[in-house]
């Protein structure tokens, strides 16, 4: 079974070579995406089969890599769940790319890396020793670096790729150190050897922090998120969907594998750090997104928000596990991993939708879009479902995972030690705020892009995209609805993961009457997507019938209410900037130092008035810019060392030798 999966991964990686050949002939249909689709479906079948068999732990050692060490692979419940996410989303995105990839201007820059990217992500989940894990992790970073650089003629792509490469290298370095500390002085680098070790508290905390930095920087956790809103939008849209929907989840996998599995959990103190970072990421991510009017960048910032939600859930699971409440820990872990799958689905759907919009209109600037629902109805409907799902509206899947997380948060008074009992409600409040702001943000995004009148000629001339893309988006939307109505499927599928990591799992849900979800046997709270869906359908249908019956069925066209100033220009409509203004005034003045300057024309002049809004990125300005300056200043200082005389070099060598000797003498 694992052998099949390895074969699929190898074929995916090999499809990169095919991509090079196909790229030479760009007119041909995109065989590479077709192969990726089939292989991902195969992978999905294997993973589902593994789950049906009860998720046993399978191992395989390949005679590759380092001599006498080999490559250790392992398929267990945790890896299986993330492989499910990768293969499911990978298959649907490949389906989308069958249509979308046809329009690529330079397919030769995408095709060779597409298959290896999918393969590297799967390899990270399969790896069972530190070498293979880090190799696969770095391969994933490098391949996606080239995918970020696809639109190489743009200067912004170069900057995005540079920042991405730098932060990916830093993250991998941090993980490298974490693995080194985990393996210890004896250097047992297979995960089995690492699992069995006893560790001092300081070692555990340092590994935990290194893993948090390393995996967090890949996942896009604030404050190490800076590359994400640059790099994800720079890639072609189907690749953005994979990077945002799947690659950040592989980073979450890395964190879970290191901290929950290899380290076996941490104490209460460190878990508070995870909780707080998660809450901050959620709120700041959505606030950044609200200030953003580039559709793909907006979606990228929402990834930061959702990673924050997942991280908060993982932190809560760590806290419960540290305090010995394994069932509650399993609840929080289930919520977090459920949200991993949900976010992978709706974020990929939204990025595919953004790609469809980008292809149809040629722009990502929301202020130039509008009225796309009537021109692209399938894209519009599926994008709407994605927006509702990410805004955590029932009966869609986003609601279920966030509901589960809040169930876990509501159980937190059981934790009585001092910092955590204050932190958890605060993080809960932050998450609630983030959910509300996310809803506002997607009302903005959907309203401006799909409703209202077109704001540019390109938007007015938009046409619906090809059937492959539509099928993929509809499938994503259908899955979002399905998981919202039958959440028990996933909660039950996650039971072996809880059993593996926490030796506890939630009670089976699929046996509950009417598909209802009742995660804790002791608590009365339950959720029933089916009832909600039926209620919404019946109430909505009845309302529609009543309105049409008594309000007149005919379609009437009339002038828009324009406050008495009839102006036909579509730019006088409510814009994304104006929609975000109230929130910008509340939060942005302090956080982003938002400053509005109004320039009025002199009296009696007919020139236009001008409103300018200036925003600052506080994290970039206060954290990244000083670090960059310090590095440059240090380089300037050290530069003269390159131009010394021989005698000075000798003196330097001599002084460092003496210094080291003095150090040795002082130690002994």
């Amino acid at each position: 079974m694992l052998e099949f999966l390895v074969l699929i991964v190898a074929l995916l990686a090999a499809s990169g070579a095919l991509g090079v050949i196909r790229a030479l002939d760009p007119r041909r249909p995109l065989l590479v995406y077709g192969i990726a689709l089939v292989l991902c479906l195969g992978g999905l079948a294997v993973v589902l089969g593994h789950r049906v068999m009860g998720a046993p732990v399978l191992r395989l050692v390949l005679p590759l890599g380092l001599p006498w060490v080999g490559v250790h692979l392992r398929l267990d419940a945790l890896a299986g769940f993330f492989l499910l996410v990768i293969n499911l989303v990978g298959a649907l995105v490949s389906l989308f790319a069958l249509g979308y990839g046809r329009h690529a201007s330079e397919p030769g820059r995408v095709l060779p890396f597409y298959g290896p990217f999918l393969a590297a992500m799967q390899l990270v989940c399969l790896a069972d020793d530190a070498f293979s894990f880090l190799f696969a992790w770095e391969l994933m970073s490098l391949v996606s670096f080239f995918l970020v650089l696809v639109e190489h003629e743009k200067e912004s792509s170069h900057q995005a790729a540079r920042v991405y490469l730098l932060m990916a290298a830093g993250g991998t370095f941090s993980l490298l150190l974490a693995m080194g500390v985990l393996a210890g002085a004896d250097g047992g680098y297979s995960f089995d050897a690492i699992r069995g070790q006893e560790r001092a508290e300081a070692t555990v905390v340092s590994v935990f922090l290194l893993a948090l930095i390393g995996a967090g920087s890949k996942a896009g956790l604030i404050p190490v998120h800076a590359w994400l809103p640059l790099a994800h939008p720079a890639a072609p849209s189907h690749v953005s969907a994979l990077m945002s929907g799947v690659m950040t989840k592989v980073a979450i996998y890395g964190f879970v594998r290191l901290v929950f599995d290899l380290l076996g959990g941490v104490a209460l103190g460190p878990s508070v750090i995870v909780l707080i970072l998660g809450g901050i990421s959620a709120v700041l991510g959505v606030l950044y997104a609200l200030m953003e009017h580039d559709l793909k960048r907006l979606l990228a910032y929402h990834t930061v928000e959702n990673i924050g939600i997942i991280t908060a859930a993982l932190g809560l699971a760590l806290a419960f596990a540290a305090a010995g409440f394994d069932l509650l820990a399993a609840l929080a872990l289930t919520a977090g991993l459920f949200h991993v799958l949900n976010h992978a689905l709706f974020k990929s759907l939204l990025f595919c939708g953004a790609g469809a919009v980008l292809h149809a209109t040629g722009t990502r600037d929301m202020e130039r879009l509008g009225g796309l629902l009537r021109r692209m109805p399938t894209t519009g409907i599926s994008f709407l479902l994605g927006c509702a799902a990410i805004s955590a509206l029932p009966p869609l899947n986003g609601f279920v995972s966030e509901w589960l997380l809040f169930q876990a948060i509501l159980q937190s008074p059981i934790l009585v030690s001092l910092p955590i009992v204050l932190v958890v409600p605060a993080v809960g409040a932050l998450l609630a705020l983030a959910a509300a702001l996310a809803a506002a943000c997607f009302v903005k995004a959907y309203g401006v892009v799909f409703l209202s009148r077109p704001r540019s000629a390109e938007a007015a001339a938009a046409r619906e995209v090809d059937p492959f893309s539509r099928a993929a988006m509809l499938a994503f939307a259908g899955l979002c609805l399905l998981l919202g109505v039958i959440p028990g499927l996933i909660v039950d599928a996650l039971a072996p993961v809880g059993e593996l990591l926490l030796t506890a799992h939630l009670p089976s849900q699929l046996g509950n009457p009417w598909l209802s979800l009742q995660p804790l046997p002791t608590s009365a709270s339950s959720y029933n997507g089916l009832v909600l869906l039926s209620f919404l359908l019946i109430a909505g249908g009845l309302t529609a019938v009543v309105l049409h019956r008594f309000g007149g069925a005919g379609l009437r066209l009339g002038p828009i209410w324009d406050c008495g100033y009839p102006d036909p220009a579509p730019s006088t409509q409510y814009t994304a900037t104006s929609f975000a203004q109230p929130i910008r005034r509340v939060f942005g003045t302090v956080l982003f130092r938002a400053r509005e300057t109004v320039t009025m024309p002199p009296p009696l002049a007919t020139a236009a008035a001008r409103l300018e809004v200036r925003l600052e990125d506080p994290i970039w300005e206060r954290l990244y810019v000083p670090v960059a300056r310090a590095v440059l200043a240090a380089a300037d200082r050290l530069n003269p060392l390159q131009f010394q005389t021989i005698r000075r070099y000798l003196v330097l060598v001599f002084l460092s030798l003496v210094g080291l000797l003095v150090l040795a003498a002082a130690r002994s």
């Binding site: 005389t645 000798l650 001599f654 030798l657 002994s668």
Partner: protein
Amino acid sequence: MSPLAFDIAHLLAGSMVVVSFLLLYQDRITGVLNVFAVQAIILALAVAFQAWSQGAPHLYLTALIALIVKGGIIPLALHRIVRELGIHREIEKVVGVGLTMLVGLALTALAVIVVLPIAQEAGRVGREDLAFALAVILLGLLMMITRRNAVTQVVGFMSLENGLVLAATGAKGMPLVVEISVAFSILIAFIVFGIFVFRIRERFDTVDVHALERFRGD
């Protein structure tokens, strides 16, 4: 090892440190070369004594190389260079003699402090030899950085190498091949240095390396 043998080994190694101080003290090139030859001869004696006391005949070869090459050929060749270049004058020093001696004393103390606790397993003779050898190495380095004349810098380098050989013979089990290859590399380095000294002289009319600093390519 008998106490007498221990004392002799100790005496020879200690003499090398003393001679290193003499090297630092000299302010004429001919004096520096003569003292260097004396150090090489003492090194040969020390190595030969180790060969006898350890019962390791290959060390006699090392001693012979040290005696002939370092005690004979190199000092004679350097004397010839100095004569041909006509630089019998006083040596320019970067740092004064007194300060150099004080720094040298501090370095010797440092060497003893560092080596004695670390090399516990090396045995008493090896341990003390290592401390002296490290002192000779440090003093050689000190000589290289406190002199400006290219010839004296070469001598400083050779003296540093003497310390390396002393350390190597003190530690048991150093293969002959390594010693011979070290000796040859030093010989090659000497040739290269010699050629450079002549070239420098031809070009700049002086062997003061300070003059070179003005002619670097930047």
